[in-house]
């Protein structure tokens, strides 16, 4: 006899099974996991499981002096650290009312676009690897290294440049830097055709990526999608143009869009943005020498610096989408609250969970890469 309150446990259908995808999986960027429910090799449901890279950045920032956070923020998104620094600096500047000298603004734009190129090269490479095209991954990493060489020269650090202080940048350009940057751009441009041949026109890639992980523009907007992922659904929205910061309103560049909203379209948007970033950098190289003046506005002794009470939401366009800092100051020596609105947390959680449904097991990795979600930034 069963008790009256007995309820049979609802078991999933016997033809479905659960699979832990990650956290250590070559098809996942960093330590991140999906628990997927599969029917055969078809995904029925998915649940994002993050937290493996949680370091508590937002809380850590409340315990540090305003300037000390500059060393912390680039670690939030390893492949694209410059926007983290610049956006944090812009937030503190907004709270303090610091006017950043024009030369520093141009140098910041230069870093942001260099970082975008490096990040996109990394992402192509990663995506290619998920479809078995390893040469492209080696190329992407090798060419990104050449961008990092220039970062090393400019900032003293290859990955974590820690170069932007509230008020400006820490150093002026080394002698002859713009010529070497120009040489780098020449090299990258010479490589674009190779990338097209090897990757963007590669039938393996095209047939694997087309029609995979499709989202409509409406879905994208509902899910909080930004950046190249949003532009791949046909909406030409870019913070650089629609809410200009630094000197982007003085620069000439196109917003790259695609219509299909699938993994292929997202990669093609990045392919176009790489070219646009080169175009922007060419303009920087041309105009920066004529912009004189300091590269830093004076800031108080960082050991005795109170930022006026207030709050700010400052956003910029990172390689992955809209990145914003919501910073609250109560007039203290440390931030009262810092919230990072990172693009990846949307892309890797609610978007990824939905996009993989209906796709095949082998496409999960490339859907994740096509969204260019960065797990360290999701977890923070």
């Amino acid at each position: 006899m069963r008790p009256e309150n007995y309820q049979a446990r609802a078991h999933p259908p016997s033809h479905e099974y659960e699979l832990n995808f990650g956290p250590n999986h070559p098809g996942i960027e960093g330590n991140y996991a999906l628990r997927v429910r599969l029917h055969g090799d078809r995904v029925v449901a998915a649940r994002a499981e993050g937290g493996y890279l949680h370091r508590g950045f937002e809380k850590l920032m409340e315990g540090r002096l305003w300037i000390q956070n500059i060393a912390l923020v680039p670690r939030i998104c390893v492949p694209d650290p410059s926007p983290m620094e610049v956006c944090y600096a812009l937030s503190v500047e907004a709270l303090c009312g610091i006017e950043v000298p024009p030369r520093a603004q141009w140098i910041r734009v230069m870093q942001l676009e260099m970082s975008r190129i490096a990040a996109h090269l990394f992402t192509f490479g990663g995506h290619a690897a998920t479809t078995g095209l390893y040469t492209n991954m080696f190329w992407g990493v090798a060419d990104r290294d050449r961008v990092l060489d220039r970062f090393e020269e400019l900032t003293g650090g290859r990955v974590y440049s820690i170069f932007n202080l509230p008020g400006g940048v820490r150093r002026d350009l080394p002698d002859g830097f713009l010529e070497r940057l120009s040489g780098l751009l020449d090299y990258l441009e010479s490589r674009l055709e190779d990338y097209d041949e090897l990757f963007f026109r590669n039938r393996v890639f095209v047939r694997r990526a087309r029609g995979v992980g499709v989202m409509s523009q409406q879905q994208a907007l509902e899910w909080g999608v930004t950046g190249p992922n949003l532009r791949a659904t046909g909406l030409a929205f870019d913070v650089r143009r629609d809410d200009p910061y630094l000197v982007y309103d003085q620069l000439d560049f196109d917003i790259v869009t695609e219509e299909a909203g699938d993994a292929l379209a997202r990669n093609l948007v990045r392919r176009g943005e790489l070219r646009q970033s080169i175009r922007i950098l060419r303009q920087v190289i041309e105009r920066l020498p004529a912009i004189d003046g300091p590269v830093r506005a004076p800031i108080p002794n960082p050991l005795a610096w109170r930022v006026p009470a207030g709050e700010t939401y400052t956003r910029i366009e990172s390689s992955k989408g809209e990145l914003a800092y919501y910073v609250v100051s109560t007039g203290g020596e440390k931030p009262y609250r810092v919230h990072v609105r990172g693009p990846s947390s949307m892309h890797a959680v609610q978007v990824l969970e939905r996009l993989v449904v209906g796709s095949r097991l082998e496409d999960i990795a490339q859907i994740m890469f096509s969204l260019d979600a960065c797990p360290p930034e999701v977890d923070r």
Binding site: L65, E152, I162, R201, N301, A304
Partner: protein
Amino acid sequence: MAKIRHDDRGSLLAPLKALGFFTRAPVTETLAPRPASLNYRGFHVNDWSQCIGCGTCQRICDNAAITMVTIPSLPQDPARGIRNQRPAIDYGRCCWCGLCVDICPSGSIALTREYIHICRESELDSYFVLPDPNGIHGQPFPAGWAKSEVSELIDPARQPMKELPAPTRIQGFDEIVQGYEPQQAIDEAARCVQCGLCHEACPTHMHAPEYIRAIWRGDAEEAVRQIYRTNPFAHVCGRVCTHRCEQACSIGNRGEPLAIRWLKRHAMDSVPDERVRELVTQDSVAAPSGRRVAIVGSGPAGLTAAFDLARHGHAVTVYEALARPGGMPRYGIPAYRLPDDRLDADIAVIEAQGVEIRCNTPIGAELTMETLRQQYDAVVLAIGLQLGRSTRIPGSGHRDVHTAVELLRRIREGEALAPPKRVVIIGGGNVAMDIARSLARLQMRRHGAIDITVCALEDFDHFPADPTELKEAREEGVRVLASRGPKEIVIDADGGLGGLKTLGVTSVFDEQGRFAPRYNHEDEQLHEAAWVVEAIGQISDISILGDSLSERLEWDRGRLRVDENGRTAEPWLWSAGDMVRGPDVVHAVADGHRVAASIHQALQQHTEAGS
């Protein structure tokens, strides 16, 4: 931008294009090792001869990667602001941000162009290293990210102090320094890196980092509390202290040191006098001990001792020969540097602790030291240096040859002193500047013009007076001559004073460093004047002690000998201040504390032994 055509299958031979890569260098070729970039932020290097051990790197480090380690073999010099500590870096925590480099006040630390640190198995703790001038591997690497003006995080410029211009201030004895505006004080206090070198350099170890921080927070009352932890002459030291703290200030290594003295002045001036008394008296809770202490002399040393002893519950009586308490700050420092009412405010706080001050009560014929010995449990002798030394050159006994301290006292007592049109002053210290500038004001009032010549033995590179004093004296029209030694005072046929003859000085000290000036006898000058003022040093008037006591005490070349706590050879008698330490207000305060602590200890032991 051309859209890409995916559907273009291209030629069947398209894959053969890949053959072209055989003729090109591989994209992922192994690069030959190259040196790091010029700005590279690699492992640290620290120039130990430049490093002052201030620990600012430790405070800015966002990962707590830096620990200051004491190196006993290195020099330690608090007066110059040098600590024998050097930063050691935990490379398990360091993130190579380089903020330590950008904030380093001495500019000693830099990051190198060193990419790799290999930890050998035998030295698994080698993540924690002490970088020295050779970096961390004993093999020098070129500096990468180093101090630069652009990335400098320290503000080298001090807030300007508002002062009366020379033409205005020469008209009277109004205070020259006008004090900081509230925002200026906050901005100046914000420059502090809280290294604490000032605290170590200060003779009385004032809690300067704490009160500077309090000023920065806008909490003047807390600043006053911090100041009174170690110094009851707060207003006085905020104005005329010799500010050893500023000589030790780490910011002074590459910029202007913090205006610590002016910040103290600002804190004291921004709290009303009554409130200061309340704040200081609040935590004074000692019950009366029943012990009585007499203090002879109401200068900084005597009154500091009185302040401490009264707060310990002892009944303190201060005997002052002159009409008002204060000692040298009252009778030796001109009012344009220290107005009377500020000194009065300090003394009022001391009196509020229960100290009784008896003015016009000289020790000597009527009230002897012996009487004090009988009536009190302990006696402090803090009479200072009130007599001017004489050069004893020919003519120095003339009636128009004066000593600086005597003239300064007469001016401060309100006597209508009438200096002649021309005055020569012998000496180059701060007292010489004080009397020169005071007489200049009186000359201006009386004659409408200034003619004062100061003749100092030393050259301008080794000038004894404070540079500010020298600068301001010159601005006010005082003529300052360096390297002039007095030869004789010229007396006219009618007995009047004609002037001073001086000789050029070739050296002041001999090979052993002893004071033995040498003159160039061919370089003789006559400075015409109707008065000559000697400002070459002061001595104590020890006649008040009486012969018998003087004989029982020990003396060291005319100076009373005391132990490190200020105790003399007589067990009931302590001595403090200028008469045993030489002239300096903040040393006198420190000495007052020392003596008070020693007396309190002695009285307590006495009480315990007796009960």
